[in-house]
């Protein structure tokens, strides 16, 4: 337990404790701020996330895990950021700092104490990072399985909470717009989500410094089966957590197709290393195929095909497009490939925009797109457009699509994993690393590259056919270059070469602009900035495969540091 009873350490502990207590006090003196800051008792709104950070800091300081000082610093910094930001926003919304409640100031004071104390602690006193294992006892395996399931549950809980945080504009009072872009009213309205985001990131940093992240991921790697089961249960359980509201399910349905496409792109970019900047075109092929043959009155072709046929044929047509795209690019080097795929993406978009009978054959209804796509209907009368009840819970109709997408994503993931661990997958990796050497070892690079394009296109096409029915419209504006960039960003951000990475990346790329509404017009600007920062700080993505991590950090100090190689040996003086 607590070995360090120096005044600095006590200061930090006191700060954390004070901050935690302050979360139960009122933070504002007026009603209406997100999180009901006027009330004492329940720590609503941003107070909850400050509470988490403060408790985490307290735990770290008292329980003396490895890298204690580093983790305490993280706790201090992040809790200070959240409490100070919240206090200032409350002050702005109330029309003056006078309206900020005592609780907020106490919390800020506690955060300052914690931060100062933590930064004064000597980093050299920290024990180096260790990956913890459970001892080798009979109940080790079940314990690890429970832990893995717990991680899945935690992910679901986090997602549901984050999704449910209000972010809409408060429309009262005069707004101040700083530098023509930052609307303070909007930031105030989104402050709870901002606190949530900062809180989650802060907790993650603390956990990773203490070694929890490394240990838990080691466990989940070992318990792959449990992880899959856990993830499936969590996915299926999600619609039941929404209390009948279609909003969250609608978002989840969109994330589902986006994630399926991201995994498909992961094959092309992540495995085979073929930089495709026009990938959204394959998605679009599937979407338009489903739209045209859905029987809607806006489609120029008045044939209806049953959905099972559509999903198979749509995927096949997309595969053909994939081969058509791949064939001319076989001899091209990586960067030329990028511009050619970009060109194909644009040609696709321009074509569907023009195929309205006047600038091209009447196929896709031009710039208006094919709209009013009906809901899917299964033979037997089950319509995807109706709400259904399951286990006594009323599920809005978007849940039907969500369940369909769980199947789709499961299929796509399964395909990816089987491919990645097969001879084909290894051949792709070989081509990615050094095409000449790969060809020299007898790999038919032509066939494999075409296969990569075709398979990636197939998966995207399948996702597209489902998307057409979720979104109910297929229009050229949805298939622009920026959409391809977003898909690429999802794969890169989440972690190339790993399936959970693609899922996480898709969720983030889709969800963050949704929830960070207060950024309004600056959303894209921050997106660009995020790309730059990620590439600078963690280019292998959030959930990265070991291989990629080594690739990107070959001579990196940080990798060595993470492995503990740079820490002074115990007992040595700094």
């Amino acid at each position: 337990m607590m070995r360090d009873r120096s005044p600095v350490s006590l200061l930090a502990i006191a700060g954390a404790a004070v901050q935690a207590v302050a979360c139960f006090l009122p933070w504002s003196q007026f009603a209406g701020f997100p999180g009901e800051m006027l009330n004492s008792g329940y720590p609503g709104g941003a107070r909850m996330y400050v509470l988490f950070l403060a408790v985490a800091g307290l735990a770290v300081l008292v329980l003396d895990p490895p890298r204690r000082a580093a983790a305490a610093r993280a706790a201090g910094a992040w809790s200070l950021a959240v409490s100070l930001l919240t206090a200032l926003l409350i002050g702005y919304a109330g029309g003056g700092l006078v309206n900020v409640g005592t609780g907020a100031w106490v919390a800020v004071g506690g955060a300052v104490a914690l931060t100062v104390g933590a930064y004064l602690l000597d980093l050299g006193q920290d024990r180096p990072l260790t990956v913890w294992h459970l001892p080798d006892v009979p109940w080790r395996q079940p314990a690890e399985i429970v832990l893995t399931l717990g991680v899945a549950g935690l992910a679901l809980w986090g997602f549901v909470v984050g999704l449910g945080i209000p972010d809409s504009t408060i429309a009262n009072g005069d707004d101040h717009v700083i530098l023509r872009a930052f609307s303070l009213n909007a930031i105030t309205a989104g402050s709870e989500f901002l606190s949530f985001l900062l809180g989650i990131i802060g907790l993650f940093v603390i956990a990773s410094r203490v070694g929890i992240v490394a240990s838990v991921s080691a466990v989940t790697q070992r318990q792959r089966a449990a992880l899959v089961v856990g993830a499936s249960v969590v996915a299926i359980a999600f619609p039941f957590t929404q209390g009948g509201s279609p909003y969250g399910l609608r978002i989840a349905a969109s994330i589902g197709v986006f994630a399926a496409a991201a995994v498909g792109l992961n094959i092309v970019v992540g495995l085979a290393g073929l930089l495709d900047l026009g990938y959204i075109a394959f998605f679009g092929v599937g979407a338009y195929f489903a739209a045209i043959y859905s029987g809607t009155s806006t489609s120029p072709i008045h044939t209806t095909l049953p959905f099972f046929l559509v999903i198979v044929l749509g995927a096949l047509v997309a595969a053909v497009f994939g081969v058509v795209l791949g064939a001319p690019t076989l001899r091209l080097r990586g960067d030329y490939l990028a511009i050619v795929t970009l060109g194909f993406g644009e040609i696709f978009r321009i074509s569907v925009n023009n195929f309205d009978g006047s600038s091209g054959p009447s196929l896709t209804n031009g710039p208006n797109g094919v709209s009013n796509i009906p809901d899917l209907k299964l033979p037997g009368g089950f319509s995807f457009g109706d709400n259904h009840s399951l286990f006594g819970v009323e599920l809005p109709f978007q849940a039907n699509y969500f369940f369909l997408e769980i199947l789709l994503v499961a299929f796509v993931m399964f395909a990816f994993l089987r491919l990645a661990e097969s001879r084909i997958g290894r051949a792709w990796v070989a081509i990615r690393e050094d095409e000449l050497a790969a060809a020299a070892t007898g790999i038919n690079t032509t066939r494999l590259k075409l296969l990569a394009f075709a398979l990636g296109a197939t998966l995207a096409g399948m996702a597209g056919t489902v998307d057409a029915h979720v979104v109910k419209v297929a229009a050229p504006d949805s298939f622009t270059f920026i959409e391809s960039t977003l898909l690429l960003a999802a794969v890169i951000l989440g972690g190339m070469g790993t399936v959970p990475g693609a899922l996480l990346g898709a969720s983030l790329v889709y969800l963050l602009p949704e929830k960070l509404r207060f950024l309004q017009d600056l959303r894209l600007m921050f997106f660009g900035l995020t790309l730059i920062l990620i590439m600078r700080l963690r280019p292998e993505g959030i959930i990265a495969s070991k291989r990629r991590q080594r690739e990107f950090h070959e001579t990196d100090a940080t990798a060595l540091d993470r492995a503990g190689a740079l820490d002074p040996p115990p007992g040595a003086h700094a």
């Binding site: 872009a181 960067d335 030329y336 660009g528």
Partner: protein, 307 residues
């Protein structure tokens, strides 16, 4: 016949803009194998820099000639600064990394700059640019074919820029150092060449040429907008690839070809595939066809792949 020649002139003018910007792409790629997606934004910043110089810094009543020179300098200052900062903080740290990392960074920089200017400089609509060279004055080229004065300036600038850059690279010491770095950076370093400085020089030269193009574009159309870099950038990069990336004359040649194809497609492509709606697509089609038959571009040479 007059119609054909006039459209040809139109195509050459369009191509001149692409060519000047393509030079920047090709130079940077030749040395560091990086597609600087943000180069289009450097071009845009050059135009905005010139606008800023005119509207904010120059007192009213400055004679046109002086104003133009100062605007050019202003534009260059902005674009060169952006390029140098970009290189130093976004690209240099990623120099050893796998190909994807600097590419994504470049995309991020491009998006960031576009949005930065759109949100913080303009009133969210295209900004009027002073047309100091009268766009209505038509120079007669014979046979009824005309070209306006600002357009003539654009074409001249492109050709001069290409010639100047070409001779610089071939004849000057720095230029030869650039060639050496492009061929083999390790050996170049062994020979005592400061490769970091050479790379910065490449960025600077590319930015300067882009600024010229930005200014001439503003003079031609009377406006600059934050999106002008995105549209022109992709086409200019296409032009560079078309001509053979790494090759200076190739970049300008590719620019002209692309411009001419776009214009000719608008006029002569078989209906319904003609008109502005399809012009961009035709440009890409030509690119793909060229790359199928000449994978390194029209004038490109096979360069040994870096391990």
């Amino acid at each position: 016949m007059q119609l054909f020649l006039q459209q040809l002139v139109n195509g050459i003018v369009l191509g001149a803009t692409y060519g000047l910007v393509a030079l920047g792409y090709t130079m940077v790629y030749g040395i560091v194998q990086l597609i600087n997606f943000a180069h289009g934004e450097i071009y845009m910043l050059g135009g905005f820099g010139a606008l800023f110089t005119y509207t904010v810094l120059l007192p009213a009543g400055t004679p046109t000639g002086v104003a133009l020179v100062l605007m050019l300098l202003g534009g260059m200052v902005v674009s060169i600064t952006a390029a140098v900062v970009m290189e130093r903080f976004a690209y240099r740290p990623l120099r050893g990394a796998p190909r994807l990392a600097p590419l994504i960074t470049a995309l991020g920089v491009s998006i960031f700059l576009q949005e930065l200017v759109r949100n913080f400089y303009t009133a969210k609509s295209p900004r009027p640019f002073p047309q100091l060279i009268d766009p209505t004055y038509q120079v007669q080229l014979g046979g009824g074919v005309t070209i306006s004065l600002p357009k003539l300036v654009t074409v001249t600038a492109a050709v001069l820029g290409m010639v100047a850059l070409s001779s610089f690279v071939r004849k000057s010491r720095t230029g030869r150092a650039m060639q050496a770095t492009a061929q083999d950076p390790d050996t170049a370093r062994l020979m005592g060449i400061d490769t970091d400085r050479i790379i910065v020089t490449a960025f600077v030269l590319g930015a300067a040429l882009a600024a010229i193009s930005g200014l001439s574009n503003g003079l031609q159309f009377g406006q600059v907008d934050p999106r002008m870099g995105a549209l022109t950038g992709v086409k200019a990069f296409t032009a560079a690839v078309l001509g053979g990336i790494g090759n200076i004359s190739g970049a300008v040649l590719g620019g002209f070809i692309l411009g001419i194809v776009e214009v000719m497609a608008t006029q002569y492509a078989p209906s319904p595939l003609s008109g502005g709606a399809w012009a961009q697509a035709w440009g890409f089609v030509v690119l793909i066809l060229v790359l199928v038959f000449r994978p390194y571009g029209l004038l490109g040479e096979r360069v040994a792949a870096r391990a």
